[in-house]
Protein backbone atom coordinates (compact mmCIF):
# COMPACT_ATOMS: atom_id res chain seq x y z
CA UNK A 1 0.00 0.00 0.00
CA UNK A 2 1.16 3.50 -0.75
CA UNK A 3 2.29 5.61 2.20
CA UNK A 4 0.72 8.69 0.71
CA UNK A 5 -1.96 8.99 -1.88
CA UNK A 6 -3.84 11.94 -3.38
CA UNK A 7 -6.87 11.11 -5.50
CA UNK A 8 -8.45 13.48 -7.97
CA UNK A 9 -7.52 16.67 -6.14
CA UNK A 10 -9.29 19.74 -7.41
CA UNK A 11 -8.65 23.30 -6.29
CA UNK A 12 -9.81 26.61 -7.66
CA UNK A 13 -9.47 30.18 -6.47
CA UNK A 14 -12.64 31.99 -7.50
CA UNK A 15 -13.11 31.14 -11.15
CA UNK A 16 -9.48 30.21 -11.63
CA UNK A 17 -8.86 26.48 -11.59
CA UNK A 18 -5.34 25.79 -10.33
CA UNK A 19 -5.52 22.06 -9.78
CA UNK A 20 -7.73 20.30 -12.29
CA UNK A 21 -7.32 16.69 -11.32
CA UNK A 22 -4.21 15.63 -9.46
CA UNK A 23 -3.60 12.03 -8.48
CA UNK A 24 -0.31 11.06 -6.87
CA UNK A 25 0.74 7.95 -5.08
CA UNK A 26 4.00 7.79 -3.12
CA UNK A 27 5.43 4.56 -1.73
CA UNK A 28 7.24 4.43 1.60
CA UNK A 29 10.97 4.95 1.17
CA UNK A 30 10.57 6.56 -2.22
CA UNK A 31 11.99 9.89 -3.32
CA UNK A 32 9.44 11.47 -5.60
CA UNK A 33 10.16 14.49 -7.74
CA UNK A 34 7.52 16.88 -8.97
CA UNK A 35 8.32 19.13 -11.90
CA UNK A 36 6.46 21.32 -14.28
CA UNK A 37 6.48 24.84 -15.68
CA UNK A 38 5.86 27.96 -13.61
CA UNK A 39 2.23 28.34 -12.68
CA UNK A 40 1.50 24.68 -13.27
CA UNK A 41 0.17 24.37 -9.74
CA UNK A 42 3.09 22.64 -8.04
CA UNK A 43 3.22 24.81 -4.95
CA UNK A 44 -0.58 24.93 -4.72
CA UNK A 45 -0.50 21.17 -4.86
CA UNK A 46 1.92 21.13 -1.87
CA UNK A 47 -0.26 23.60 -0.02
CA UNK A 48 -3.30 21.39 -0.48
CA UNK A 49 -1.39 18.26 0.46
CA UNK A 50 0.00 19.80 3.66
CA UNK A 51 -3.22 21.41 4.84
CA UNK A 52 -2.61 25.07 4.05
CA UNK A 53 -5.53 25.07 1.61
CA UNK A 54 -8.55 22.82 1.67
CA UNK A 55 -9.17 21.07 -1.67
CA UNK A 56 -12.46 21.67 -3.48
CA UNK A 57 -12.56 18.03 -4.44
CA UNK A 58 -10.66 14.78 -4.04
CA UNK A 59 -9.10 13.01 -1.08
CA UNK A 60 -5.68 12.79 0.54
CA UNK A 61 -4.74 9.55 2.28
CA UNK A 62 -1.68 9.14 4.52
CA UNK A 63 -0.69 5.94 6.22
CA UNK A 64 -4.17 4.48 5.70
CA UNK A 65 -5.88 7.54 7.10
CA UNK A 66 -8.00 10.17 5.37
CA UNK A 67 -6.33 13.52 6.05
CA UNK A 68 -8.25 15.59 3.50
CA UNK A 69 -8.90 19.12 4.71
CA UNK A 70 -7.02 18.79 8.02
CA UNK A 71 -5.30 21.94 9.29
CA UNK A 72 -1.51 22.31 8.91
CA UNK A 73 -1.12 21.54 12.61
CA UNK A 74 -3.07 18.29 12.32
CA UNK A 75 -1.23 17.29 9.16
CA UNK A 76 2.08 17.98 10.92
CA UNK A 77 1.06 15.84 13.87
CA UNK A 78 0.32 12.93 11.51
CA UNK A 79 4.01 12.85 10.58
CA UNK A 80 4.11 15.03 7.49
CA UNK A 81 6.56 17.90 7.42
CA UNK A 82 7.41 20.49 4.83
CA UNK A 83 9.98 23.09 3.97
CA UNK A 84 9.13 26.30 2.20
CA UNK A 85 10.23 27.78 -1.08
CA UNK A 86 10.34 31.23 0.47
CA UNK A 87 12.38 31.03 3.64
CA UNK A 88 10.19 30.60 6.65
CA UNK A 89 12.22 30.62 9.83
CA UNK A 90 11.98 32.03 13.33
CA UNK A 91 14.30 34.92 12.61
CA UNK A 92 14.92 36.18 16.14
CA UNK A 93 15.96 32.73 17.29
CA UNK A 94 19.29 30.99 17.06
CA UNK A 95 19.65 28.08 14.66
CA UNK A 96 19.25 25.54 17.43
CA UNK A 97 16.19 27.28 18.87
CA UNK A 98 14.54 27.11 15.45
CA UNK A 99 14.86 23.35 15.55
CA UNK A 100 14.04 22.98 19.25
CA UNK A 101 10.73 24.80 18.83
CA UNK A 102 9.75 22.31 16.13
CA UNK A 103 10.50 19.17 18.18
CA UNK A 104 7.49 17.04 19.14
CA UNK A 105 8.99 16.68 22.62
CA UNK A 106 8.84 20.45 23.07
CA UNK A 107 5.36 20.54 21.60
CA UNK A 108 4.30 18.12 24.29
CA UNK A 109 5.87 20.35 26.96
CA UNK A 110 4.08 23.38 25.57
CA UNK A 111 1.64 23.80 28.40
CA UNK A 112 4.10 23.66 31.23
CA UNK A 113 4.47 27.32 31.95
CA UNK A 114 7.01 27.36 34.77
CA UNK A 115 9.72 25.05 33.43
CA UNK A 116 12.70 26.66 31.72
CA UNK A 117 13.02 25.45 28.14
CA UNK A 118 16.78 25.99 28.28
CA UNK A 119 16.99 23.27 30.94
CA UNK A 120 15.52 20.66 28.56
CA UNK A 121 18.97 19.46 27.57
CA UNK A 122 17.68 16.31 25.85
CA UNK A 123 15.68 18.51 23.46
CA UNK A 124 18.76 20.60 22.74
CA UNK A 125 20.87 17.49 22.19
CA UNK A 126 18.31 16.14 19.74
CA UNK A 127 18.23 19.47 17.93
CA UNK A 128 22.02 19.54 17.78
CA UNK A 129 21.99 16.12 16.12
CA UNK A 130 19.55 17.41 13.52
CA UNK A 131 21.70 20.48 12.85
CA UNK A 132 24.65 18.16 12.38
CA UNK A 133 22.67 16.10 9.86
CA UNK A 134 21.90 19.17 7.75
CA UNK A 135 25.51 20.36 7.94
CA UNK A 136 25.10 23.13 10.47
CA UNK A 137 27.27 21.72 13.27
CA UNK A 138 29.06 24.60 14.97
CA UNK A 139 26.35 27.08 14.04
CA UNK A 140 24.00 26.15 16.89
CA UNK A 141 24.13 29.49 18.65
CA UNK A 142 24.19 31.68 15.54
CA UNK A 143 21.16 33.91 15.05
CA UNK A 144 19.21 32.45 12.17
CA UNK A 145 19.08 35.80 10.42
CA UNK A 146 22.86 36.02 10.46
CA UNK A 147 23.30 32.72 8.60
CA UNK A 148 24.23 32.69 4.93
CA UNK A 149 21.59 31.95 2.33
CA UNK A 150 22.71 28.37 1.87
CA UNK A 151 22.83 27.81 5.62
CA UNK A 152 19.32 29.17 5.97
CA UNK A 153 18.20 26.73 3.28
CA UNK A 154 19.75 23.91 5.27
CA UNK A 155 18.15 25.17 8.48
CA UNK A 156 14.82 25.29 6.68
CA UNK A 157 15.18 21.56 6.09
CA UNK A 158 16.42 21.03 9.64
CA UNK A 159 13.27 22.60 11.04
CA UNK A 160 11.17 20.32 8.84
CA UNK A 161 13.14 17.30 10.04
CA UNK A 162 12.66 18.18 13.69
CA UNK A 163 9.17 16.72 13.68
CA UNK A 164 10.71 13.31 12.79
CA UNK A 165 8.39 13.08 9.81
CA UNK A 166 7.52 9.93 7.94
CA UNK A 167 7.01 12.06 4.88
CA UNK A 168 8.95 15.18 4.02
CA UNK A 169 7.88 17.71 1.41
CA UNK A 170 10.62 20.00 0.07
CA UNK A 171 9.43 22.98 -1.95
CA UNK A 172 12.18 24.04 -4.37
CA UNK A 173 15.06 23.43 -1.97
CA UNK A 174 17.69 24.60 -4.47
CA UNK A 175 16.01 27.95 -5.15
CA UNK A 176 18.69 30.64 -5.07
CA UNK A 177 21.57 28.24 -4.38
CA UNK A 178 24.73 28.29 -6.46
CA UNK A 179 26.39 25.20 -7.93
CA UNK A 180 28.30 24.45 -4.78
CA UNK A 181 25.28 24.88 -2.54
CA UNK A 182 23.20 22.68 -4.79
CA UNK A 183 25.85 19.96 -4.69
CA UNK A 184 25.94 20.09 -0.90
CA UNK A 185 22.15 19.91 -0.81
CA UNK A 186 22.18 16.90 -3.13
CA UNK A 187 24.48 15.11 -0.67
CA UNK A 188 22.13 15.96 2.17
CA UNK A 189 19.04 14.73 0.32
CA UNK A 190 20.84 11.53 -0.64
CA UNK A 191 21.48 10.84 3.05
CA UNK A 192 17.96 11.80 4.10
CA UNK A 193 16.54 9.53 1.46
CA UNK A 194 17.71 6.54 3.49
CA UNK A 195 15.65 7.66 6.48
CA UNK A 196 12.47 9.28 5.25
CA UNK A 197 10.09 9.33 2.30
CA UNK A 198 10.59 12.58 0.41
CA UNK A 199 8.60 14.54 -2.17
CA UNK A 200 10.50 17.37 -3.87
CA UNK A 201 9.24 20.14 -6.10
CA UNK A 202 12.17 21.30 -8.17
CA UNK A 203 13.03 23.38 -11.19
CA UNK A 204 16.59 22.14 -11.39
CA UNK A 205 16.12 18.98 -13.43
CA UNK A 206 19.70 17.87 -13.21
CA UNK A 207 19.34 17.87 -9.42
CA UNK A 208 15.97 16.15 -9.50
CA UNK A 209 16.78 13.47 -12.07
CA UNK A 210 19.93 12.51 -10.22
CA UNK A 211 18.08 11.93 -6.96
CA UNK A 212 14.49 10.95 -7.61
CA UNK A 213 13.22 7.40 -7.90
CA UNK A 214 10.21 8.60 -9.84
CA UNK A 215 9.21 11.98 -11.20
CA UNK A 216 5.70 13.33 -11.77
CA UNK A 217 5.24 16.07 -14.31
CA UNK A 218 2.46 18.53 -13.51
CA UNK A 219 1.05 20.78 -16.19
CA UNK A 220 -2.32 22.54 -16.50
CA UNK A 221 -3.22 21.31 -13.03
CA UNK A 222 -2.86 17.66 -13.94
CA UNK A 223 -0.22 14.99 -13.76
CA UNK A 224 0.66 14.61 -17.42
CA UNK A 225 3.44 12.09 -16.99
CA UNK A 226 4.97 9.96 -14.27
CA UNK A 227 7.93 7.66 -14.61
CA UNK A 228 11.51 6.97 -13.60
CA UNK A 229 13.98 9.70 -14.57
CA UNK A 230 15.53 7.44 -17.21
CA UNK A 231 12.23 6.79 -18.96
CA UNK A 232 11.07 10.37 -18.57
CA UNK A 233 13.98 11.68 -20.60
CA UNK A 234 12.26 10.15 -23.59
CA UNK A 235 9.03 11.99 -22.78
CA UNK A 236 8.14 14.55 -25.46
CA UNK A 237 7.15 17.24 -22.95
CA UNK A 238 10.35 16.87 -20.99
CA UNK A 239 12.37 16.92 -24.18
CA UNK A 240 10.57 20.00 -25.46
CA UNK A 241 11.01 21.97 -22.28
CA UNK A 242 14.11 24.12 -22.23
CA UNK A 243 15.00 22.57 -18.89
CA UNK A 244 15.02 19.14 -20.44
CA UNK A 245 17.71 20.12 -22.87
CA UNK A 246 20.11 20.75 -19.98
CA UNK A 247 19.97 17.14 -18.93
CA UNK A 248 20.19 15.66 -22.38
Amino acid sequence: MALFEARHLHKRFGGHVVLEDISLSVEAGELRGIMGPNGAGKTTCFNVLTGRYKPDGGTVMFDGRDITGLSPREVARCGISRSFQIMNLFDEYSAIDNVVIALPAVRALGWSVLRDLARQSSAYDEAATILQRVGLAGKEGAASRSLSYGERRALEIGVSLAARPKLLFLDEPTAGLGTEGTARLADLVTTLKQQVTIVIIEHDMRFLFALADRVSVIHWGQVIAEDTPANLRANPWVQRSSLGSQTA
Binding site: T50, R52, S71, P72, R73, A76, R77, S81, R82, F84, N88, L89, F90, D91, E92, Y93, S94, I96, D97, V100, I101, A102, P104, V106, R107, L109, G110, W111, S112, V113, L114, R115, D116, L117, A118, R119, Q120, S121, Y124, D125, A127, A128, E140, G141, V159, A162, A163
Partner: protein, 341 residues
Protein backbone atom coordinates in the same frame (compact mmCIF):
# COMPACT_ATOMS: atom_id res chain seq x y z
CA UNK B 1 28.92 18.63 25.07
CA UNK B 2 25.82 20.48 26.06
CA UNK B 3 24.07 22.53 23.43
CA UNK B 4 21.54 24.17 25.71
CA UNK B 5 21.74 27.92 26.07
CA UNK B 6 22.27 29.24 29.57
CA UNK B 7 19.09 28.77 31.58
CA UNK B 8 17.25 31.89 32.66
CA UNK B 9 18.51 33.15 35.98
CA UNK B 10 16.09 32.72 38.86
CA UNK B 11 17.01 36.16 40.16
CA UNK B 12 18.20 38.23 37.20
CA UNK B 13 20.01 41.46 37.98
CA UNK B 14 17.27 43.77 36.62
CA UNK B 15 14.72 41.98 38.79
CA UNK B 16 16.80 42.39 41.93
CA UNK B 17 17.50 46.04 41.10
CA UNK B 18 13.84 46.76 40.40
CA UNK B 19 12.64 45.12 43.59
CA UNK B 20 15.32 46.67 45.78
CA UNK B 21 14.69 50.10 44.31
CA UNK B 22 10.94 49.81 44.75
CA UNK B 23 11.15 48.29 48.22
CA UNK B 24 13.41 51.09 49.43
CA UNK B 25 11.26 53.77 47.77
CA UNK B 26 9.39 54.81 50.95
CA UNK B 27 12.78 55.78 52.45
CA UNK B 28 13.78 58.23 49.75
CA UNK B 29 10.55 59.29 48.01
CA UNK B 30 10.07 62.42 50.10
CA UNK B 31 13.70 63.41 49.72
CA UNK B 32 13.42 63.51 45.92
CA UNK B 33 10.13 65.39 46.02
CA UNK B 34 7.79 62.52 45.20
CA UNK B 35 5.04 61.02 47.33
CA UNK B 36 3.82 57.61 48.34
CA UNK B 37 0.62 57.53 46.34
CA UNK B 38 2.53 58.15 43.14
CA UNK B 39 4.65 55.07 43.82
CA UNK B 40 1.48 53.04 44.34
CA UNK B 41 0.18 54.08 40.96
CA UNK B 42 3.51 53.44 39.24
CA UNK B 43 3.69 49.88 40.52
CA UNK B 44 0.06 49.20 39.52
CA UNK B 45 0.81 50.45 36.03
CA UNK B 46 3.92 48.29 35.95
CA UNK B 47 1.73 45.23 36.51
CA UNK B 48 -0.66 46.38 33.80
CA UNK B 49 2.14 47.14 31.35
CA UNK B 50 3.85 43.79 31.99
CA UNK B 51 0.54 42.02 31.37
CA UNK B 52 0.02 43.99 28.19
CA UNK B 53 3.52 43.26 26.98
CA UNK B 54 2.88 39.54 27.24
CA UNK B 55 0.70 40.13 24.18
CA UNK B 56 2.50 42.96 22.40
CA UNK B 57 6.15 42.19 23.03
CA UNK B 58 6.18 38.45 23.61
CA UNK B 59 3.29 37.36 21.42
CA UNK B 60 3.29 40.06 18.76
CA UNK B 61 -0.43 40.64 19.29
CA UNK B 62 -1.24 44.35 19.23
CA UNK B 63 -4.03 44.80 21.74
CA UNK B 64 -5.03 48.45 21.67
CA UNK B 65 -8.11 48.05 23.81
CA UNK B 66 -6.48 46.60 26.88
CA UNK B 67 -7.85 49.24 29.22
CA UNK B 68 -11.08 47.27 29.06
CA UNK B 69 -9.66 44.38 31.11
CA UNK B 70 -8.01 46.76 33.55
CA UNK B 71 -11.45 48.35 33.91
CA UNK B 72 -13.30 45.07 34.22
CA UNK B 73 -10.92 44.19 37.03
CA UNK B 74 -11.58 47.51 38.76
CA UNK B 75 -15.36 47.16 38.50
CA UNK B 76 -15.28 43.49 39.46
CA UNK B 77 -13.29 44.31 42.59
CA UNK B 78 -15.81 46.98 43.55
CA UNK B 79 -18.81 44.79 42.81
CA UNK B 80 -17.41 41.80 44.65
CA UNK B 81 -16.82 44.00 47.66
CA UNK B 82 -20.13 45.88 47.59
CA UNK B 83 -22.49 43.15 46.38
CA UNK B 84 -20.87 39.95 47.61
CA UNK B 85 -19.05 41.22 50.67
CA UNK B 86 -15.72 39.97 49.38
CA UNK B 87 -12.60 40.97 51.25
CA UNK B 88 -9.14 41.74 49.89
CA UNK B 89 -8.05 38.47 48.31
CA UNK B 90 -11.59 37.48 47.35
CA UNK B 91 -12.04 40.80 45.59
CA UNK B 92 -8.75 40.45 43.73
CA UNK B 93 -9.65 36.89 42.74
CA UNK B 94 -12.95 38.26 41.44
CA UNK B 95 -11.09 40.93 39.47
CA UNK B 96 -8.77 38.31 38.01
CA UNK B 97 -11.55 35.92 37.07
CA UNK B 98 -13.88 38.56 35.63
CA UNK B 99 -11.12 40.01 33.45
CA UNK B 100 -10.03 36.52 32.41
CA UNK B 101 -13.62 35.67 31.46
CA UNK B 102 -14.02 38.87 29.46
CA UNK B 103 -10.67 38.17 27.81
CA UNK B 104 -11.64 34.57 27.07
CA UNK B 105 -14.78 35.65 25.23
CA UNK B 106 -13.06 38.39 23.25
CA UNK B 107 -10.09 36.16 22.42
CA UNK B 108 -12.47 33.67 20.81
CA UNK B 109 -13.33 36.31 18.23
CA UNK B 110 -9.85 37.62 17.51
CA UNK B 111 -7.30 34.83 17.94
CA UNK B 112 -7.42 33.80 14.28
CA UNK B 113 -6.50 37.36 13.27
CA UNK B 114 -3.19 39.19 13.28
CA UNK B 115 -1.72 42.62 12.65
CA UNK B 116 -4.00 45.52 11.94
CA UNK B 117 -7.19 43.43 12.01
CA UNK B 118 -6.26 42.17 15.42
CA UNK B 119 -5.59 45.70 16.62
CA UNK B 120 -8.89 47.05 15.26
CA UNK B 121 -10.90 44.24 16.80
CA UNK B 122 -9.31 44.77 20.21
CA UNK B 123 -10.19 48.47 20.01
CA UNK B 124 -13.77 47.63 19.01
CA UNK B 125 -14.25 45.21 21.89
CA UNK B 126 -12.62 47.66 24.27
CA UNK B 127 -15.06 50.36 23.23
CA UNK B 128 -18.00 47.97 23.68
CA UNK B 129 -16.97 47.36 27.28
CA UNK B 130 -16.39 51.05 27.93
CA UNK B 131 -19.88 51.78 26.57
CA UNK B 132 -21.42 49.09 28.75
CA UNK B 133 -19.67 50.61 31.76
CA UNK B 134 -21.24 53.99 31.03
CA UNK B 135 -24.73 52.79 30.17
CA UNK B 136 -25.41 49.95 32.56
CA UNK B 137 -26.35 52.21 35.47
CA UNK B 138 -27.86 49.54 37.68
CA UNK B 139 -24.58 47.63 37.92
CA UNK B 140 -21.76 50.03 37.11
CA UNK B 141 -23.19 53.26 38.43
CA UNK B 142 -23.00 54.86 34.98
CA UNK B 143 -20.73 57.83 34.50
CA UNK B 144 -20.18 58.22 38.23
CA UNK B 145 -18.91 54.69 38.54
CA UNK B 146 -18.66 52.73 41.76
CA UNK B 147 -17.76 54.94 44.69
CA UNK B 148 -16.53 54.27 48.21
CA UNK B 149 -14.56 51.15 47.37
CA UNK B 150 -12.68 50.34 50.54
CA UNK B 151 -9.16 48.98 50.99
CA UNK B 152 -9.90 45.86 53.00
CA UNK B 153 -7.24 44.73 55.45
CA UNK B 154 -4.90 41.88 54.57
CA UNK B 155 -5.67 38.83 56.68
CA UNK B 156 -3.22 35.95 56.74
CA UNK B 157 -3.21 33.16 59.33
CA UNK B 158 -5.21 35.09 61.87
CA UNK B 159 -3.06 38.18 61.56
CA UNK B 160 -4.42 41.40 60.15
CA UNK B 161 -2.77 44.38 58.49
CA UNK B 162 -4.64 47.51 57.60
CA UNK B 163 -3.96 48.77 54.08
CA UNK B 164 -5.67 52.10 54.64
CA UNK B 165 -2.46 54.13 54.55
CA UNK B 166 -0.67 54.57 51.25
CA UNK B 167 2.51 53.21 52.85
CA UNK B 168 0.89 49.91 53.86
CA UNK B 169 -1.01 49.64 50.60
CA UNK B 170 2.20 50.25 48.68
CA UNK B 171 3.85 47.32 50.42
CA UNK B 172 0.94 45.10 49.46
CA UNK B 173 0.91 46.26 45.83
CA UNK B 174 4.65 45.70 45.68
CA UNK B 175 4.12 42.13 46.90
CA UNK B 176 1.60 41.47 44.14
CA UNK B 177 3.97 43.06 41.63
CA UNK B 178 6.80 40.79 42.74
CA UNK B 179 4.62 37.71 42.29
CA UNK B 180 3.50 38.82 38.83
CA UNK B 181 7.06 39.72 37.84
CA UNK B 182 8.48 36.35 38.89
CA UNK B 183 5.60 34.48 37.27
CA UNK B 184 5.94 36.30 33.95
CA UNK B 185 9.72 35.92 33.97
CA UNK B 186 9.33 32.16 34.37
CA UNK B 187 6.55 32.14 31.80
CA UNK B 188 8.47 33.79 28.98
CA UNK B 189 11.31 31.28 29.38
CA UNK B 190 9.03 28.27 29.59
CA UNK B 191 8.29 26.10 26.55
CA UNK B 192 4.94 27.91 26.37
CA UNK B 193 6.57 31.32 26.32
CA UNK B 194 9.18 30.28 23.77
CA UNK B 195 6.54 28.87 21.45
CA UNK B 196 4.51 32.05 21.86
CA UNK B 197 7.55 34.04 20.81
CA UNK B 198 8.04 31.73 17.85
CA UNK B 199 4.43 32.41 16.84
CA UNK B 200 5.21 36.12 16.98
CA UNK B 201 8.10 35.60 14.60
CA UNK B 202 6.37 33.29 12.15
CA UNK B 203 2.82 32.23 12.78
CA UNK B 204 2.58 30.09 9.67
CA UNK B 205 5.71 28.10 10.36
CA UNK B 206 4.63 27.53 13.94
CA UNK B 207 1.41 25.96 12.65
CA UNK B 208 3.33 23.85 10.13
CA UNK B 209 5.56 22.38 12.82
CA UNK B 210 2.42 21.32 14.67
CA UNK B 211 1.71 24.00 17.26
CA UNK B 212 -1.85 24.95 18.03
CA UNK B 213 -1.36 28.61 17.18
CA UNK B 214 -4.93 29.62 17.90
CA UNK B 215 -4.88 28.13 21.38
CA UNK B 216 -1.56 29.78 22.21
CA UNK B 217 -2.85 33.16 21.13
CA UNK B 218 -6.10 32.62 22.95
CA UNK B 219 -4.45 31.58 26.19
CA UNK B 220 -1.94 34.43 26.02
CA UNK B 221 -4.82 36.86 25.71
CA UNK B 222 -6.69 35.33 28.64
CA UNK B 223 -3.59 35.41 30.83
CA UNK B 224 -2.81 38.97 29.87
CA UNK B 225 -6.40 40.05 30.52
CA UNK B 226 -6.42 38.27 33.88
CA UNK B 227 -3.26 40.02 35.08
CA UNK B 228 -4.56 43.35 33.75
CA UNK B 229 -7.66 42.68 35.83
CA UNK B 230 -5.54 42.25 38.96
CA UNK B 231 -3.89 45.59 38.22
CA UNK B 232 -7.37 47.08 37.75
CA UNK B 233 -8.54 45.68 41.09
CA UNK B 234 -5.55 47.27 42.81
CA UNK B 235 -6.29 50.51 41.01
CA UNK B 236 -9.87 50.49 42.30
CA UNK B 237 -8.45 50.22 45.82
CA UNK B 238 -5.91 52.93 45.17
CA UNK B 239 -8.56 55.32 43.87
CA UNK B 240 -11.30 54.06 46.20
CA UNK B 241 -13.52 53.91 43.14
CA UNK B 242 -14.03 52.44 39.68
CA UNK B 243 -15.25 54.68 36.87
CA UNK B 244 -15.65 54.42 33.09
CA UNK B 245 -12.49 56.37 32.42
CA UNK B 246 -10.30 53.49 33.60
CA UNK B 247 -11.44 51.44 30.61
CA UNK B 248 -11.40 54.25 28.09
CA UNK B 249 -9.39 54.26 24.90
CA UNK B 250 -7.10 56.75 26.68
CA UNK B 251 -6.04 54.22 29.23
CA UNK B 252 -5.58 51.60 26.52
CA UNK B 253 -3.35 54.03 24.68
CA UNK B 254 -1.34 54.90 27.78
CA UNK B 255 -0.34 51.32 28.40
CA UNK B 256 0.75 50.90 24.76
CA UNK B 257 2.85 54.08 25.06
CA UNK B 258 4.46 52.82 28.27
CA UNK B 259 5.35 49.50 26.73
CA UNK B 260 6.80 51.07 23.57
CA UNK B 261 8.73 53.88 25.29
CA UNK B 262 10.17 51.44 27.78
CA UNK B 263 11.18 49.03 25.02
CA UNK B 264 8.82 46.12 25.60
CA UNK B 265 9.35 44.92 22.05
CA UNK B 266 12.97 44.07 22.71
CA UNK B 267 13.14 43.57 26.45
CA UNK B 268 11.14 41.88 29.16
CA UNK B 269 11.94 44.88 31.40
CA UNK B 270 10.67 47.49 28.96
CA UNK B 271 7.20 47.83 30.51
CA UNK B 272 8.71 48.32 33.98
CA UNK B 273 10.88 51.19 32.72
CA UNK B 274 8.04 52.58 30.62
CA UNK B 275 5.57 52.75 33.49
CA UNK B 276 8.02 54.73 35.64
CA UNK B 277 8.87 57.13 32.84
CA UNK B 278 5.25 57.62 31.84
CA UNK B 279 3.80 58.28 35.28
CA UNK B 280 6.72 60.47 36.37
CA UNK B 281 6.47 62.48 33.16
CA UNK B 282 2.75 62.86 33.67
CA UNK B 283 3.25 64.06 37.20
CA UNK B 284 6.23 66.31 36.65
CA UNK B 285 5.10 67.81 33.35
CA UNK B 286 1.53 67.93 34.68
CA UNK B 287 2.71 70.23 37.46
CA UNK B 288 3.84 72.79 34.88
CA UNK B 289 1.19 72.50 32.21
CA UNK B 290 -2.22 71.02 31.57
CA UNK B 291 -1.03 70.15 28.11
CA UNK B 292 1.44 67.58 29.43
CA UNK B 293 0.02 64.94 27.12
CA UNK B 294 0.93 67.09 24.13
CA UNK B 295 4.58 67.20 25.20
CA UNK B 296 4.55 63.57 26.12
CA UNK B 297 3.00 62.76 22.74
CA UNK B 298 5.80 64.64 20.98
CA UNK B 299 8.44 62.74 22.93
CA UNK B 300 6.60 59.53 22.14
CA UNK B 301 6.64 60.33 18.43
CA UNK B 302 10.33 61.13 18.57
CA UNK B 303 11.04 57.82 20.27
CA UNK B 304 8.99 55.85 17.75
CA UNK B 305 10.66 57.66 14.86
CA UNK B 306 14.26 57.55 16.02
CA UNK B 307 14.47 54.69 18.50
CA UNK B 308 11.47 52.39 17.97
CA UNK B 309 12.89 49.90 20.45
CA UNK B 310 12.49 52.38 23.29
CA UNK B 311 14.69 52.95 26.30
CA UNK B 312 15.60 49.27 26.63
CA UNK B 313 16.58 49.35 22.96
CA UNK B 314 18.90 52.32 23.57
CA UNK B 315 20.48 50.44 26.45
CA UNK B 316 21.08 47.41 24.23
CA UNK B 317 22.60 49.57 21.48
CA UNK B 318 24.89 51.17 24.05
CA UNK B 319 25.91 47.78 25.46
CA UNK B 320 26.69 46.48 21.97
CA UNK B 321 28.75 49.60 21.28
CA UNK B 322 30.68 49.15 24.52
CA UNK B 323 31.40 45.50 23.70
CA UNK B 324 32.63 46.44 20.24
CA UNK B 325 34.84 49.14 21.68
CA UNK B 326 36.24 46.74 24.26
CA UNK B 327 36.92 44.20 21.53
CA UNK B 328 38.73 46.70 19.29
CA UNK B 329 40.71 47.97 22.28
CA UNK B 330 41.73 44.43 23.20
CA UNK B 331 42.76 43.42 19.68
CA UNK B 332 45.92 45.62 19.34
CA UNK B 333 47.06 44.64 22.83
CA UNK B 334 46.70 40.96 22.01
CA UNK B 335 48.61 41.49 18.79
CA UNK B 336 51.34 43.30 20.71
CA UNK B 337 51.55 40.45 23.21
CA UNK B 338 51.91 38.00 20.36
CA UNK B 339 54.76 40.00 18.88
CA UNK B 340 56.56 40.04 22.22
CA UNK B 341 56.08 36.31 22.70
Amino acid sequence: MSHSPAPASLLPVPMVCTLVLLASAPLWLDAVGLYQYLAVEIVIWMIFALAHNLLLGQGGMPSFGHGAYFGVGAYAFGLCQQQLGAELLGGLAGALLAAAAAGAVVACFISHRRGIYYALLTIAFGQVMWFVAIKWHAVTGGEDGLLKIARPPLRVAGLEWSLASNEAFYAFVLGVFALVLVFLWRLVHSPWGRVLRAIKQNEMRAAFVGHNVWLYKWSAFVLSAALSGVAGGLFAMAQNSAYPNVMSLHNSGFVVMMVLIGGGLVSFWGPVIGAVVFILTRDLLGAYTDAWLLWYGLVFMAVVLFQPNGIAGMWQVWQAWRRRRAATAAAPKAAAREREA
